[in-house]
């Protein structure tokens, strides 16, 4: 009787414990899968089948139809779908990759180099940004305003900036970078919109990619800094003694060692950029719309087109899941080492 409650090894639960675990896990799996099941069956419904009340099992409750799938993939909406899918498939991986490149080099720099930016220089810089914004808002052309501010900045830096010798350290820089994630997108989206409008970049890949890269850099730095910290410095020192340059050390020693962390971080950022809605809503109007916007657009004047939405949501999940399954063995390993540090 007693063996039902005893575990064989530390990590193996007792039979009763295993049964209870399976019950809880199964229940949660059901909670995850049922909404997805509902999406799948809704995608095979036509409008009357949704309107007349809940039908649960295709072929038993209702006759499934391929109308929505046809409408999205080959019918009226196929051109939009294809264009927006291509947009998403270009913007998301490119932004994720660029964010990874810049974020990782910055994270590496914060781990291995020492920076001492002076408070005086930072204050003068902020002052000059304020100056340029003020002059631009007064109607001065932005080229002139920026040039004048830059000149003022360098003059002040040489004179006043030198007087305040108090300096910040690497941790302050890291915290500053990470704190950029605290900015709610809604707080910065209006100036970004006006900025890209002035630069005639609205509704282009460049605008969306630049915005996504900057908004995801903090996450990359956050995750990669912990990860790179765990790589022993001795390896790099050996390479440096052998005469390798900083760049060579980074590309042929640090990067290969960091692959699990890079993959896990890439996946996180890819999921964020792939699914992003608010910034895309502001920055794209026709050409560069992404798939989340297509989903929202199905809530038309005739009410939400549930069947079309379901198809689109399913289309959007598939690539991410495929990538996630392909890279799955890296995820836990990648998070694992970074996670030890906390």
């Amino acid at each position: 009787m007693k063996r039902w409650f005893q575990s064989k090894t530390i990590n193996t639960p007792s039979p009763v414990g295993a049964l209870l675990s399976y019950l809880v896990l199964g229940f949660w799996a059901l909670l995850i899968l049922f909404p997805l099941y509902w999406l799948v069956i809704t995608s095979f419904k036509i409008s009357s089948q949704v309107a007349e009340g809940p039908f649960y099992i295709p072929f038993v409750d209702y006759q499934p139809s391929l109308d929505a799938w046809k409408y999205i993939l080959v019918g009226d909406l196929s051109k939009d779908t294809l264009r927006n899918f291509t947009n998403t498939a270009i913007v998301a991986p490119v932004s994720a990759l660029l964010a990874l490149v810049f974020g990782t080099t910055a994270a590496y720099a914060l781990v291995r180099f020492e920076y001492r930016p002076r408070v005086g220089a930072i204050l003068t810089f902020i002052g000059c940004v304020l100056l340029s914004i003020f002059t631009i808002s007064k109607g001065v052309p932005w080229q002139i305003a920026l040039a004048v501010s830059a000149v003022v900045f360098f003059l002040l830096l040489q004179t006043i900036g030198r007087r305040f010798q108090r300096a910040l350290g690497n941790n302050d820089i890291a915290f500053w970078m990470i704190s950029q994630r605290m900015l709610p997108p809604i707080a910065v989206v209006i100036p970004i919109y006006i900025l890209f409008q002035k630069l005639h970049l609205l509704d282009t890949y460049i605008a969306l990619i630049i915005t996504y890269v900057t908004s995801n850099l903090p996450i990359v730095i956050w995750l990669m800094r912990d990860y790179l910290n765990t790589i022993p410095i001795e390896l790099e020192e050996c390479a440096a003694i052998d005469g390798a340059s900083r760049y060579r050390i980074f590309s042929s020693i640090v990067l290969p060692l960091a692959i699990p962390g890079l993959v896990a971080t890439f996946l996180f950022v890819l999921v964020f950029t792939w699914n992003e809605y608010l910034l895309a809503l502001f920055l794209s109007s026709a050409k560069i719309q992404t798939l989340p916007l297509t989903i929202a657009a199905q809530n038309a004047t005739r009410g939400p087109q549930w069947w079309n939405m379901s198809v689109l949501i399913l289309i959007m999940i598939v690539p991410v899941i495929v990538i996630a399954i392909v890279l799955e063995r890296y995820i836990t390993r990648g998070l694992l080492i970074g996670a030890v540090k906390g």
Binding site: I10, G17, F34, V129, L130, L183, T214, S245, W306
Partner: protein, 378 residues
Amino acid sequence: MDTKHEEFQHSRLHTIISSATDRLAGSVFILPTVLALLFLSIFPLIASLYVSLAKFDIAPGGFKFTFVGLKNYKELFTGSEGTHFLGKFAPSTPLTWIVFGVVVMALAVFLARYLLKGKVSMGGLMGRILLTIGLGLLSWMLVHTLWNGGRLGTASTTLVYVFVGIFFQYILGLGLALLTVQNLPGRRFFRVIFLLPMMITPVGVAYMFRMLTDTSKGPFTPIWQALGLIDFSWVNNAWGARTAILIGDVWQWTPFMFIVLVAALESQPTEPIEAATVDGANSWQIFQHITWPAILPVSMTLVLIRLIEAFKIVDLPNVMTNGGPGTATQSLTYHAYINWRALDLGASGAVAYMLLFLVTFFSMIFVNLIRQRTVEAL
């Protein structure tokens, strides 16, 4: 002879160049990021501060901003937007005074303990005073808007989403992570399934939950009918609607907590647990004294990330309830978005800045007090 000399010169030149580029490496590695962040974070931040202090008008040939000072903020706190942002305050009753009194007492004890410890620094004291004032005001607002007769404003609603949401996400994520690190056949299957919600676009999740919570056409209609709730749409009830949104939020973000906690639990060394089992510790004792301290630092980082992200909630209320009934489920981002849609960019900027202020306030408390203390205590 000649060639040798040339070679020597060449290699010297090479070393000079490479050492010069090497010295630049520090800047090369970090500058792109710094410039990108300056370009698209600092500049918009300052610009939107100006927007929040100005009035936006459509002018011939575009638009113009007129500087109006703190008018937008004044409106937000005391003017027509006041009940929208802060909520409707119920009249104080003895009970609200008692609750508020308890909070103030706790804050006073916290301040007094810091002062009595003897290691008082100027910055530390200022920070703690600000914290006391901030938390005092927030609890005053929450006590009066949560009470009967009061109504939650967008600020309180956002706080409810953030704290209730993170609480459930963490508890569920931790529980599921503990279960799946056991040696059970099929645990990898469960892990993949549990990750799925995170992969779906938030707008998609929001529409999906709108389908599921529909009381006349959704899959749970028979249950509503059995309960006699068919005419009573729970999404039309303020707390019902908020619960629906919280369920969607917890559904989507528990996987994030889950996967990081699984990684943390798996990286734990097994020796201390083995030793404790030999000594006869039960599983609760093992969790309390070995596992929990080991995953605490990761948990703190995790909660901080979610804390920052959760304040930005907008898709779920926008899609599921359109912010309704009334303004009951609007979050701060949604509030700013509504003002933006009404072309009142100044008010929108003011709301966004208050949101930024709240996020920074809570992140600072978290980083400086809670995280430091728990991690140091180990």
